[in-house]
Point group: C2
Chain length 633, copies 2
């Protein structure tokens, strides 16, 4: 098999003859940016063949490159077949970029009711007067310490096998670990000596893009380590659809192991940070979207993306963590959040748990915005849920200077209504390189208040101001002059960008209104709005209402719960009573298919205004806009 050497890192990997450079990069552990999943569509996985034999079809894919680039050996890694040993240069831009990942949590208070316990025991050695068997002796010891009744604990074979040696080698001083499992308790480990302080669990948010991990003591619930990293599956496709397509082409096992590896990497980081041995991690709780959890469990996700869109499994899953390749204690249990449907996964169930809305009589509206959005409306008695694609605008796609929440992104912005001079804050306080979602929402709201744009999103080019000008294709507003930016160009927002942003926000608003109509709830009937997801956390609530991203409610009713998935996973990790509610929550959440709801398209159309066609739904915004108009004349 030929060997490929990747420059400038000099990483090497072998690959099948006729295998692609993308496969070789995967083998070499290079996190390649393959947005389209290797279909030759996105043109992101650029490499330059420096020597050796690798075939690239320029006729079909040459369009991504200039003649000079082709001259230098440019190719798409996903479309280049390795025939013999080769040496290839990988530009920085072909790697997945580091991104700001949301790991802060609200630290929601929850009672501590763990699902795993350690019992340090000093047992009497057997004698002729007390000849009870090793296992019975051990289980009685647990019972005497206040643990579950002897007969209620199932002991698996591998643990039973270890018992006689451990008991005798330790001088009958041991620590037994017991876990709550479906149907009862399970003896998961017996160790020499008193190890009772070394008992940890892991909560995981397994996202399409990122993985977030919390390590908590299961002795007292304390958070001891936190880490996050990219989901390494990104090298097989950036969005979830391209992952499923990759799985369909025989890539399920690869995606499965990348998911496990991503979690393992984060666990290792968090464990090192906390000084925790991974062998002392006795439980893993994971919340993720339905496709991610299917893939992690090695279950074929193919049928979820074709009509009639059914997952294989919706209920919560348990297994030995080692069964899916997680590198923790051998017998550690794995708990996967239940899902509602293909599109409402365990991450949203975790959001609901974290919000507390499923335990309250108040009516809450929960909105999770990412590449896709999910909305849940309801209370402890009933819940409706729906999901949709917001389009990439709010994440910085389809916007000329849009970008993800990476260093240099403008994340907050205000305009001086007199001078139209922007004041902004960038991530890491670097020179601006573009604008991320929360900055775009601010910008839209500020441009509207300043009457630079009207309610349809059109730029008022009549205003004579150096920042308002005609760009090559569309009218545009200059947010930052090239001298102040980190990219040597003016950063602008165009009328076309604004149109795309309005379409995105209209989808989300229409989803909210569709669920409200379904439930017969008006905006006044909403007691609480919860924003969750990376996006929601940096969002200005006021501006979100001004542009009509969400229904107008008094601002004090709006809360952000940060990364609801990791919050929910944390709660389920340390509170078995809450964990028990999850299947019930998932069952209660009726799923509304927006595409099958005729009024959704009408609501979408009505929402393609700032904030909405019908201003009576946004009375406070209407008043504010009137004042602005009067002010500007």
């Amino acid at each position: 098999m030929p060997t490929v050497t990747f420059l400038p890192s000099f990483r090497k990997a072998v690959v099948d003859r006729e295998g692609t450079l993308m496969e070789a990069a995967l083998n070499a552990g290079i996190n390649l940016n393959v947005v389209c999943g290797g279909q030759g569509k996105c043109g992101k996985c650029v490499m330059f063949v420096k020597s050796g034999v690798a075939e690239f079809d320029r006729d079909q894919f040459g369009r991504f490159f200039s003649p000079e680039e082709l001259e230098s050996g440019a190719c798409l890694a996903c479309q280049t077949r390795v025939i013999d040993d080769a040496s290839v240069f990988v530009p920085e831009s072909s790697h997945i970029q580091e991104q700001k990942i949301l790991i802060e949590t609200l630290g929601l208070e929850t009672e501590f009711h763990p699902s795993v316990w350690k019992y340090p025991l000093v047992l009497n050695p057997p004698s002729l007067d007390d000849p009870s068997p090793d296992l019975t002796r051990l289980l009685w010891g647990i019972e005497k310490k206040g643990g579950p009744r002897e007969g209620k604990i199932y002991a698996p074979l591998e643990v039973i096998r270890s018992i006689p040696r451990v008991l005798r080698d330790s001088g009958w001083k041991i620590t037994a670990t017991v876990a709550l499992v479906p149907g009862g308790y399970r003896l998961i480990d017996v160790e020499k000596g008193d190890t009772s302080s070394r008992l940890y669990g892991v909560a995981v948010d397994l996202g399409t893009t990122t993985v977030v991990v919390f390590i908590r003591s299961l002795v007292d619930g304390r958070v001891v380590g936190v880490a996050s990293n990219y989901n390494k599956q990104i090298s097989c496709g950036e969005d979830i659809l391209s992952r499923v397509n990759y799985a369909r082409k025989g890539g399920l096992a690869k995606l499965q192991s990348l998911a496990a590896e991503s979690i393992n990497t984060a666990i290792t980081r968090a464990a090192n940070q906390a000084g925790v041995d991974r062998e002392d991690i006795h439980e893993v709780v994971i919340a993720g979207n339905t496709i991610m959890t299917h893939i992690l469990m090695g279950i074929d996700p193919a049928y979820m993306i074709e009509e009639p869109y059914v997952p294989v499994v919706r209920r919560y899953l348990t297994a030995a963590a080692s069964r899916v390749g997680l590198e923790v204690k051998e017998n550690a249990g794995l708990f996967i959040f239940p899902a509602v449907s293909d599109f409402i996964g365990g991450d949203i169930v975790a959001d609901v748990l974290a919000s507390g809305m499923s335990e309250s009589s108040e009516v809450s509206l929960l909105i999770d915005i990412g590449t896709n959005f999910e909305v849940v409306l309801g209370n402890r008695d009933w819940m409706f849920s729906c999901a949709g694609a917001a389009g990439p605008a709010l994440e910085g796609g389809e916007v000329l200077f849009g970008m993800r929440a990476n260093p240099g992104a403008i994340e907050q912005i205000t305009l001086d209504l007199e001078t139209l001079t922007p004041a902004y804050r960038t991530i890491n306080h670097e020179k601006p390189r573009g604008i991320c979602g929360s900055g775009l929402i601010d910008l839209l709201a500020e441009l509207l208040r300043a009457c630079v744009i009207d309610r349809t999103g059109r730029i008022n080019t009549v205003i004579a101001h150096p920042r308002i000008r005609l760009g090559p294709h569309f009218p545009e507003f200059v947010v930052a002059w090239k001298e102040e930016t980190g990219i040597g160009k003016d950063i602008v927002i165009t009328e076309n960008d604004i149109k795309n942003l309005i379409m995105s926000k209209a989808s989300i608003l229409a989803a909210c209104i569709t669920l409200m109509n379904e439930a017969g709830i008006s905006r006044n009937g909403i007691d609480r709005i919860y924003f969750t997801g990376a996006f929601g956390n940096y969002l200005s609530k006021e501006n979100a209402i001004i542009i009509g991203l969400i229904p107008e409610v008094p601002l004090e009713r709006i809360r952000t719960i940060g990364n609801g998935a990791i919050e929910g996973a944390n709660i389920a990790l340390v509170n078995r009573k809450k964990r028990k509610q999850l299947d019930e929550i998932a069952r209660t959440m009726a799923y509304i298919e927006l595409n099958a709801t005729p009024s959704f398209m009408d609501e979408y159309t009505r929402g393609c205004f700032l904030p909405h066609t019908d201003l009576s739904l946004f009375p406070v915004v209407e008043k504010m806009l009137d004042e602005c108009r009067i002010h500007r004349g």
Copy 2:
């Protein structure tokens, strides 16, 4: 590594340099007769080195052979180290002999309540109107067919993974298999099409010497196949103690795999006979003594044979059958009978279940006689149990012409009280080669009735009769003249044989009386005596009382239940309600340690008479003996 060729079979096996011929024979699959477990003590594993290099210490072990035999290359396989390729002859006598194994059963009636079910299902394919997940769809199908509720069935990961493919490839016509497991139900398999008629279970009696297997349909409980064979562990030691010693020397894994192999061989035979595919066997239920089940489960049995004699586990065990190497359906469950102590194993619990004594208000005495004996006394409210070594006399050991129940063994015998001419029946109607247990008991009783021996077992050499004579060491009685035997020698019983037999029977009687004393029950309080074990089945009840093997009760109260272990395993296989009682039965059976009970030795001494020192305990026998004495003058 050197290769050893075994003649006359020409089987070959490699073995480590300096490994023994015994190890090579094991590797070659030769069932060698190694009574002492390879300690060079029993002299049974004779081989003749024909060529090649193998070292045998004649100084130490030459005593087993004549000079002529040594000249021909005679050696003990367990004490001969292979240095280089060698060729060795294995005489027939060094193989384990085929033996009459008890597989007939009483066919005890029991209600049919299986623990595994198949549900043939025709499911509606998912649609936009009915988009429930694959697993939910399947489990609802089971529920609609009268199976367990959807939420009550645990689905393991490997089954979930298989579901989407099987459902679609089969056109949504599948068969789901569900098993009852501790804590609930488990989905153990999903197959294409309707396979509901192919559902079988296996009941196993895992004995120290033999393995008996029943295959039963779990659709209707019918027995479809029966087979038995030797426990292949015999090549590592004939008695249980030598097995444990073999395990202690690092041989546990070997013994474990031999146990599994022994069961697999029997299952294969029974399955072939029944035309059953082993892949259709969904459950295995095993009753065995505590050491055998520990070894099969891969649990160290070492601590059971040293003070204070504790097993690792006493409760029933469950696991995947494949975990211990049983070659049945991959997800098939394994159920191992619970034990009471080291010495009262799952086989005795199975005896008790089969006898029905644990459900009756009548007081029963259950006696299982093999190499060791076990006695249980009690009813549904209380039970006492004990165990001991009867010595090998009743199995043909320590008796000059004693033998196991192999072809040619005299198994029944009567004497003409006038002429002293024996009339006997041999196994397979072959010419007699020796006398097995039931024949020896008959002989003892008949010699006593004929006044050839007195109540101490002494032969009355005053009687002038050609069959009564002085042998080389002891007085003896000729049972068969050499012309009528298959061995070219007179078959006799000596006074020493009779002494050994009396000591054996005295142990068993003393055990019965010790339990009766413990419970405050006289012989009149015994409503039922059950004989179980291979031995009991061919036994004359009357003669057992005459010699004082068991307490005197009216004959109609005595029943034999054949192989109680396989009977009990069969019941537990097809009747989950009975299976559920097992742990309770095992807990109810108080274990009396005979060696710690001072009165036991007294009872033993008092029992070393025919039938007993105190004839008032045997009034009917006393009367009979009086009549005989009068008759003979």
